[in-house]
């Protein structure tokens, strides 16, 4: 209570200063008057009485001052005075102030912008109930982490006790016929407890029930708020209405809020998994995303060890499918955002360095200024200001600088964030949610205060400790030695930080250049790719599905401007794929002998349309049908892996399907051709073993694996991409079936490189800014040194030193500073760039060429920065210099 009164009273004196002051005046005057009156009554004259009272009780002015400075509010008031004084001082040196504010704004702006992205992408909790208890379960097999098989998921759900909830989903896309044109929509096939696991409620309607998550039930769907608003005109009566999904009437039962995107997959609808008994017994196909919520009180390690026990049981139970298979448990946050950490932390470190360099530069400027302000400060000290008060005042000046820098910096950050959202990599989850919010503002303010102390403390203490006598004696200009040491140290620090940034940027640039010159393995020019998915009910018959795609190829090939057309189950750079274990003929049927390889189902025209070079053997022909010998074409990596040192043509391997005698009956495919490696997962990814089988020979069940979805690959004669024509051609062959993700091959390539180019671009900008700032630092120190030593230089010239000698002296000093910074920076960079290794392709983090190049650039810039002051030194006129005093 009394604390509140204290604050309220203090605030009153702060903000209603006049009123409070009048009050005190009145009271004090009354006091003195009454005291005087008493003396007058005793016979004194009025004037004498007033004088006596003043002597006895103290003068009213002093008393007022004493009373006023007794409350806490007086501290606030001095602080305010200091800040206003600081602002006035800065206004008097606008050159210094604007350079310092801009430098600082650059540092604070960059740091704040990157922080707001880190905040949105990494720090903000996932939009679900208590995300710390939600874990992501994967299988572990050899060195990969596939999804779970439905069978393994069912066993896990039955046997585990660590989880309050365990659910599964898999990504899928759907042909949606709602109001207008058919569209392809991304969604998930999920178990009924999917929503409760995340603890998120629908904004309208309900989620599906356990009953609806069983085979043979009427079809229901939960849609996203985004889909509801963008495609369904936010129709409130949509709940209970049917819409056609994959050609089947499906009832909308609920709408999930916009924020519900638990796996960051931008799903727009969810349909029940309704696993059949057959699926529940399937331990062979590993594709489920499994998410669980830990029981409260169950630790991560406990859950993991329970999973290990279950995995061992399964290995015995299903020796073929689950041999060497285990489970891996990860916090969902790590599973979803772990990939983003390296890059974003690198950015944050980079902007942190930039801010430090900016601070060092301002500290340098302040040190130079403190020299010229020595007399002013000495005068203040002489007039009775305590060192404490002087430090406080100088710090206040720096805080004003810092806050001004923060204001400009936040503006800068605001634009930067907008730019990054617009141009940043689309694949980075939650990037679009970055904004300057309360948290980032607090961060920026903290940065401003921290940096104003960083660059302000040393100069302030130095100034406050100057002795009056020194100042007025040493006006002659022999520079204070230790002061130059600090300044040199700051420059060395700047240079080494800049070098670390430059080394990082250099490595990324070199890596990007190497990637850009990689051969993708096929001719990417004038190729357009789009996906087409045939709905299961209408096109269940494998023959019908195949004929539909073949008709689509023929119809598209007839379009004007089209050279040739093909279909492929996954076009290069389209993402995803289907991995298969191949058994080389002659090896015993054992899991350990399987070679993992990517399957591509292609029409016979594919390799010639994509222009994948044939290295040996022949291409597929129309004669390679199901009733002939099953044939395959392999890429060079698979040929090398499976038959090292042998000619693969005519060799056989088993894969993809079982013979009539059951699961262990191999079906052999004969290699008829070898093609060049295609970098199908991105230019900077390693090529995997890959094999092609002709569309006409694919097993019927393969239509289910690939979801009756294929990429239509069109080679045009150049010119505009015939989007309209392609859409209408596909629709004319398969009504209500859309073609989606339509883009040129080159667009697909650049979108896979988007992320690494973005990292490279930003780091390059930061590094060049750092280089610029530190060269300004070198320039500043040397110019200051030359100005300070004008007399020495003049003297030496008078004694016969040549201009070249003077130039060499100054240059030498600058280069020495840069050299020391370079050495320190190189050592630090060698340690730091190792953290980048996961972002680099084909370059080692200690790449000598890069390090040599950035060192060279840095030295050249340092030389230029030193040359300007050096030249100024030679223009010193000995006579003028000696008269300088």
């Amino acid at each position: 209570m009394s604390l509140l009164r204290n604050i309220a009273d203090g605030l009153r004196s702060l903000f209603r200063k006049e009123r409070v002051s009048q009050d005190l005046d009145g009271e004090l005057n009354g006091f003195l008057e009454m005291a005087a009156e008493e003396k007058i009554n005793q016979g004194m004259s009025r004037a004498d009485a007033l004088r006596a009272v003043r002597l006895e009780r103290g003068s009213p002015e002093v008393t007022k001052e004493v009373v006023r400075s007794a409350g806490w509010e007086s501290v606030v008031e001095t602080l305010w005075q200091d800040l206003r004084h600081g602002q006035r001082v800065l206004r008097k040196s606008p050159g210094f102030a604007s350079v310092a504010v801009l430098t600082l704004a650059l540092g604070i702006g960059a740091t704040t912008a990157i922080f707001s992205i880190v905040n949105a992408v990494l720090l903000r909790p996932l939009a679900m109930e208590d995300p710390s208890h939600v874990v992501f379960v994967q299988e572990t097999w050899r060195d990969i982490f596939p999804g779970l098989s439905v069978g393994n998921f069912a066993d896990l759900k039955r046997q585990s006790t660590s989880f309050a909830d365990l659910c599964a989903s898999n990504d899928a896309s759907f042909n949606l016929e709602a109001r207008e044109l058919p569209e392809r929509v991304d969604g998930e096939i999920a178990t009924a407890n999917y929503f409760t696991t995340f603890g998120v409620q629908p904004i309208a309607g309900r989620v599906f029930t356990t009953e609806e998550d069983k085979p043979g039930q009427p079809k229901v769907v939960v849609i996203s708020e985004r889909l509801w608003r963008t495609k369904l005109h936010a129709d409130p009566s949509i709940i209970g209405q049917p819409m056609r999904i994959n050609g089947l009437p499906t009832t909308v039962v609920g709408i999930m809020p916009r924020s519900f995107d638990p796996l960051l997959s931008r799903s727009d609808l969810w349909v029940p998994a309704a696993y059949t008994a057959e699926k529940l017994a399937d331990h062979d196909n590993h594709y489920l995303n499994v998410i669980a919520r830990l029981k409260s009180g169950t630790s991560h390690a406990q859950a993991q060890s329970e999973l290990n026990v279950i995995a061992r049981v399964q290995q015995r139970q299903y020796p073929i499918d689950d041999e060497n298979r285990g489970f891996r448990l990860q916090p969902l946050t790590t599973a979803l955002l772990g990939d983003q950490r390296v890059g974003l932390r690198m950015m944050l470190a980079a902007v942190g360095f930039l801010l430090l360099i900016a601070c060092a530069n301002i500290a340098n400027l302040q040190l130079a200024r403190s020299r010229t302000r020595q007399k002013e400060i000495a005068m203040r000290a002489a007039l009775g200001a305590s060192p404490n008060r002087i430090v406080r005042q100088l710090l206040a000046e720096n805080v004003v600088l810092g806050l001004a820098g923060a204001v400009v910096g936040v503006l800068l950050a605001y634009w930067t964030v907008a730019w990054i959202i617009a141009h940043g990599p689309a694949e980075m989850p939650r990037l679009d949610q970055s904004r300057i919010d309360a948290r980032t503002l607090v961060f920026a303010c903290a940065l401003a205060l921290l940096s104003s102390f960083l660059f302000g403390l040393a100069p302030a203490f130095r100034s406050a400790s100057t002795r009056l006598s020194e100042v007025f004696q040493s006006s002659s200009g022999i520079s204070g030695g230790s002061r130059d040491h600090i300044r040199s140290l700051l420059v060395v620090g700047e240079v080494s930080l800049a070098l670390i940034l430059m080394a990082g940027a250099g490595l990324l640039i070199r890596s990007a250049l190497l990637v850009a010159h990689l051969n993708p393995g096929f001719d990417t020019s004038n190729v357009v790719v789009g996906r087409v998915g045939l709905p299961d009910p209408g096109y269940h018959d494998p023959a019908l599905a195949r004929q539909t795609f073949e008709r689509m190829i023929t119809a598209t090939a007839a379009l004007p401007g089209v050279n040739s057309v093909a279909v492929v189950s996954r076009a290069p750079l389209a993402g995803g794929g289907s991995s298969n274990g191949l058994l080389r003929e002659g090896k015993p049927l054992d899991m350990a002998n399987l070679v993992n390889s990517q399957l591509q189902i292609i029409s016979p025209s594919y390799l010639s349309t994509a222009r994948v070079p044939l290295r040996a053997g022949r291409d597929f022909t129309l004669q390679d049908t199901r009733d002939r010998t099953l044939v395959t074409i392999v890429n060079e990596t698979l040929a090398r892996t499976m038959w090292p040192g042998e000619k693969p043509i005519g060799k056989r391997f088993a894969c993809c399907e079982a013979g009539p005698k059951g699961r262990m009956d191999p079906v052999w495919h004969e290699v008829v051709g070898v093609v060049a490696d295609v970098r199908a997962w991105g230019l900077d990814r390693q090529v995997q073993p890959e094999f092609y089988i002709p569309l006409a020979q694919m097993p019927a069940s393969a239509w289910d694996w690939i979801g009756r979805t294929m990429d239509l690959v069109v080679r045009t004669r150049g010119g505009a991409v015939p989007i309209r024509e392609l859409q209408s051609t596909v629709a004319s062959v398969a009504p209500a079936v859309p073609i989606y993700r339509l883009s040129t091959m080159q667009q697909k390539i650049s979108s896979t490189l988007e992320r690494s180019h973005f990292d490279t671009f930003l780091l390059a900008i930061f590094a060049s800014t750092a280089l610029l700032l530190s060269s300004v630092g070198i320039y500043g120190v040397l110019s200051y040194m030359v100005a300070q030593r004008t007399r020495d230089i003049g003297l030496r010239m008078a004694l016969g030193a040549s201009q070249a000698q003077i130039v060499w002296d100054v240059l030498g000093f600058g280069v020495r500073l840069a050299g020391i910074g370079l050495a320190v920076g190189l050592a630090a960079a060698l340690a730091a760039t190792r953290l980048l290794s996961s972002l680099l392709y084909g370059v080692r983090p200690t790449d000598a060429v890069t390090f040599a190049a950035v060192s060279f650039i840095l030295l050249v810039v340092a030389l230029i920065a030193s040359y300007l002051p050096a030249r100024r030194a030679t223009r010193v006129d000995p006579l003028v210099a000696l008269r300088y005093e």
């Binding site: 204290n6 005190l24 004090l28 009156e37 103290g58 008393t63 009373v67």
Partner: protein
């Protein structure tokens, strides 16, 4: 008035003020005068320490103030003891008594 006046023992002014306004609401000069009279001129209160102490006590909620007319029809700020102030005075008096007794024992022990 006695010529030799002493400075107050550190921290006792607050207690003396509370004691003084415990009798009746009083203005600043009245308080100073009363302390001087009751101490028979041993203590002299200067305006600075008095008003700082009054501000402190008021902010601590031990006294409150209001502007009123004096008997000479001058306007002055009168200070009134509050309930927490009364409690504080009682406890301070008790503590003071204990301390004085203790100090006396130490001084007479030799």
């Amino acid at each position: 008035m006695a010529d030799k006046s002493s400075d107050l023992v550190q921290g006792t002014l607050d207690m003396l003020i509370l004691r003084t306004v415990a009798l009746e609401p009083m203005h600043g000069y009245g308080i100073a005068l009363r302390i001087e009279q009751m101490s028979k001129g041993v203590f002299r209160v200067n305006a600075g320490s008095l008003f700082v102490a009054l501000q402190r006590l008021q902010r601590a909620g031990l006294i409150r103030s209001e502007w009123k007319a004096t008997e000479n029809s001058r306007r002055a700020k009168y200070y009134v003891l509050t309930e927490p102030g009364r409690k504080r005075l009682t406890s301070e008096k008790r503590e003071w008594g204990r301390q004085v007794a203790a100090i006396a024992r130490i001084l007479e022990a030799s």
